[in-house]
Amino acid sequence: MLTVCPYFHVHQPYRVKKYRVFDIGNDTEYFNDSSETDLNNRRIVEKVANKSYRPTNKILKELLDKHPEFRFNLSFSGTVLDQFEAYTPDVLESFQELVATGRVEILADTYHHSLAFFYSVPEFKRQVQKHERRIKQLFGVKPRVFRNTELSYRNDLAKWCEDNGYLGIMSEGWEKYLGWRSPNYLYNPPGCSKIKVLLKNYKLSDDIAFRFGNKEWPNYPLSADTYADWIHAHHGDGQTVNLFMDYESFGEHQWEETGIFEFLKVLPEMVMRHPDTSFKTATETVEAYDAAGVYDVPDILTWADTDRDLTAWIGNDIQRDAIEATYKMEEEVMKTRKRDIIENWRKLQTSDHFYYMCTKWSEDGDVHAYFSPYQSPYDAYIAFMNALSDLQLRVRSANMQREERELEKKESERALEKPQTDYPDVTPTPDEKETHSIPETPEPELTPTSEKAGWWGKLINKIPFFKSPQRERTSS
């Protein structure tokens, strides 16, 4: 038996507008470009909706209706879901219809399409939780298999996923770590007993994602018939063929003129033509097969370029400067407890911003230029750093205001405590504790009301006769 497990990754970032030094301190809208350029997020989402999301979802829905055995997976960034909701709600509905069939699985992800795992695990966890809540809210399902931004992967990420209850995790099937072994089996990460790794068959995946419309490619034009034969050739040499690619491969990276839609329309039929071939979702795949061995990835592995590393995102000085400056703000940003500040900070974590600053291909330009809305990597860096500078100002002023408020509170507390100056008050209240350690799930506590309740409660507790006996006991 051979199964095919496709997953399509859906993502759009919030691109930073041409934000100038003069705007620092004067403009808190970093993502609201309204020009005719590719910095206009609404314009891009509407364009890609027409070229890719709408026609592809229509085909996928028809395929699901026609073939009860057809299955696939989707992964969404939270930033694309937010933009669908705001700009193209019909696209969001069409995705909901696909998921409602019960044969389309949604994968776990970071909300902001970030590289947070490699910079701050607590922040990473918050983004994964936020993503999970959003998926539950929009689609009514709970993801059970994880995939990380740009398919970035490392042993410790797999371990984290196992510890957090995921059944599977996606990664690149790369020779450096596979050796002679095939990507068409499941593996265990080292030190893990339960979670299994699904490896991308990059040859077959990239035939569609990158080579399909390339007239120089010897296999151009590729028919679904031929492609299905290539999949069938793995009978006897594997259990699952994992086809991982950007959703936008259909219609956006590979334009309609390449025949990509016609290809997609007949592919499931061609694949299932072989009697012992079927489709599975990621969860079905990890439940169906045992691991064939250990896949040991001590260094970061991604699905990008020939290097399969993060150099397209953090390969040069300006990229590292920008991403480090972003994560350095974490403690101060969280301390503000302001929803808009935290959300802007997270939008700036989206990996695309750093990709636009890549100078790796600036000599032969191609891939990078196509995906960047900026005229140069330096323009991207300047707009980003200016926006980040403004955010830093906002964080500083929010925290100063907060400290002032706390100081005032303390003074009023001291006034109230005066009759009992010898009373030893060493136990921090739960609220104070929180400001020192980052809360695991901050969202509910971020509302101003809960904050008010926090200091009000604190004030009440400081008054001796209001202190509950329980609290007395814990402090002694």
Binding site: R20, V21, F22, D321, E363, I382, M385, N386
Partner: protein, 407 residues
Amino acid sequence: MRVLTFGWEFPPQQNGGLGVACYGLTRELLRDGVEVIFVLPKTQETAGDARFLFADDERLIKVLRTDVSIKPYMQGDSIVNVIVGYDSEGKPIIRSRTIIEEAHRFAHQASLIAQTEEFDVIHAHDWTSYLAGVAAKVASGKPLILHVHATSYDQAAGNNVDPAIYKIEKECFAMADKVVTVSQFTKNIVVNKHFTPAEKVEVVYNGCNMYVPPQLPPTLAELKRQGKKIVLYHGRISIQKGVDHFIRAARRVVDVDSDVVFIISGSGDMLTQIIEQVGAAGLSDNVKFAGALWDEERDRMYQSADLMVMPSVSEPFGLVPLEALQHGTPSVVTKQSGVAEVLTHALKVDFWDVEEMANQILASLRYPVIRQQMVNEGRVQMRNMSWQIAAQKMQRLYRSLLQYVTT
């Protein structure tokens, strides 16, 4: 292969980009075994191994000597004083002529040279030599390449183009077998403004001599001690160079950060106007005029500056950002320049977009990592901008013309 080359200036005389380009290209052609006969309008010292002819040689022409140097950066009706002979007492007889008259005179001499010398192809640099190139072609029937280092449109920044120079350019381009420009930017001018067929025009980018300059003692030490950041302009002060836009950007920069000092190195016909503009903008504390700096003084300034700006309105190539890069200083350049086409690692702005120019200056001073990276990666990129590559492309052009002639 032997090339009869006409030029207007040549090192070691101190001059602009034209002489530097002629020297770099000639040196590499000679190294590749191409014979170069280089004709200059007047006797001067020369660097390198080309065979030089001087059009003021007694053997060839009536004029004995021209003691006043003829600068190529002049309007067609600019007056030059020329010694046309000596009286009985040995005193020089001085006459005034326009530069266009001089160019015609040079052409007359070129015709005589072309009839006596043996060569395969003619290569003429800059508009002052175009007539000479055409005359040599008419006299010898050999193919002609005109090499465009600048056009009348650049000199005039688009307005008040000198009609006499434009006429020479347009007619000579029509007579040439090939027109070479130093950038796509200039090719567009030659195609769109002079109506030269695009297939006749080839782009050969200028090269840059890559070397690691010695570390010089810093200049402006006191300003640096005070924590000032230094932004440098180096070049002629003329309408073409966009210094007025630069001053307007400086005003916007100082509004945000008064610790930025702008140094203007150079002189030119707009100097008085720029000084007045600086005063009117209230920038006297932040803009300093250094006069025209050369050699070591200039290099010290390159090394001491935090950022270089080339605000040109119309710059066929623009060597200054590459020179600054060699000295470890990154640049803001205008998109209306040839160098913007070959140097990825510079900030690029439209010359009229003063706000963005100011933004780029401020941002690069705020975030030092961007400057560091532009220098590191820019230097790597410069290794691919050699005169050798330019010379190889020229040779291919020479050969293609020879085939065309013989068949």
